[in-house]
Amino acid sequence: MFSAANYIKVKSLEEAWQLNQKRSNKIIGGMLWMKMGKGRIQTAIDLSGLELDRIEETDEYFKIGCMATLRMIETHPELNRYTSGAVREAVKNIVGVQFRNLATVGGSIFGRYGFSDVLTVLMAADSSVELYKRGIIPLREFAEMKYDNDILVSVIVRKTPARFSYMSVRNSKTDFPVLTCAAARYENELILSVGARPSRAKAVSVPEELANKMMNEDTAAEIGRYAASQLSFGSNLRASGAYRRHLTEVLVKRACMKLAENGEEEKSCL
């Protein structure tokens, strides 16, 4: 557990930003990952008084405040309706309900952790982050950026018509994932997002001629092989790079088949 000399519940984002410019000060989100460290923090900056623990919905987008918890996105009916249940599927194995009532979307996304289910699923969606100083940046771009002292205010998920599916493999339930995979079928694009490789999630756009083929087991397997060929994989205590590459082929195939299933279900509901 870290130690902190001061704690400030800020009254504005500007106050938080000013405090956050000092390297020894840290913003605490859900602080679940942060508490595993042993560092010394001069001032712990708490954003919980800024009413950022909300999910706002308009006709065009969902705006998820940085202090909204994983449990909030897990149980949000409209967000899950839009993502074909992929958001719920992505977070439901993250430790337990008590953990997900604390872990924040802002902390999960700003941290850009390799193991993040949240980053993987939101990256497949048409998502952006709202940063206090730099403004709105596509999530896929943000995931590549270096850490800085800006503040992630919200995550915006645009309601671009799409179908989603989510898959992950864990050595045991509630553990960190060995591999995460989200697929999103847009009108003219098929996006795959693969995380826990073990590096952070990366999105792959499937070439049109492959994406537009009739979806069946063979096409899904071909897309799986394509995705694995576009990504790099590493080894850690949970799995080897070779195993992750193989899993990518399998999970992408299943995710594509699930997309096709979701499409059929939608048709039958009409």
Binding site: F2, A5, Y7, V97, Q98, F99, K173, T174
Partner: protein
């Protein structure tokens, strides 16, 4: 720093260190049902309700509970007693060390979903580790408790 917390229905004003964890705060105030387990936010032994939501008290600063209500098993005696006694009668647990966190989370689950399926129970309680029972006894205990409630409500 000075914080005001409504602990088990009673307003408490306390001077706490900025990095004091909620588990240390509640235990210092006599709530010894809240157990220190893994300290890696995994085991659920330290479950308390923060504004009625189950959270891991080992992973929240006491400072963040300022102005909020914190409930431990000590504050839920009445609501917990029927289930806790039933589970004890069922012999669903062994050492009982995980019991307070487990009972707290079962209460949270039943408040959200009064009649959960077996799958919903497993999913909701996935964050409560037990190293004696292998979970089968606890699951049987909950299912039998729900069955008993259903039959009683039909009468």
């Amino acid at each position: 720093m000075l914080i005001t917390v409504t602990l088990n229905g009673k307003k408490q004003q306390s001077d706490v260190e900025p990095d004091m964890l909620l588990i240390d705060f509640v235990r210092a105030h006599g709530c010894l049902s809240v157990k220190r387990g893994c300290e890696t936010s995994n085991c659920g032994l330290c479950t308390v309700f923060l504004d009625d939501k189950p959270v891991l008290s080992c992973s929240v600063l006491a400072a963040r509970a300022d102005g909020k209500s914190v409930t431990t098993l000590e504050g839920l005696q009445e609501e917990a007693s029927e289930f806790a006694e039933f589970v004890a009668d069922q012999g669903a647990e062994q050492c009982g060390f995980c019991n307070p966190g487990f009972v707290m989370n079962v209460i949270a689950m039943l408040r959200e979903n009064p009649d959960p399926s077996e799958e919903e129970i497993k999913e909701y309680l996935a964050g409560n580790l037990c190293r004696c029972s292998g979970y089968e006894g606890q699951l049987r205990g909950i299912l039998n408790f729900l069955d008993m409630r259903r039959r009683r409500d039909q009468i």
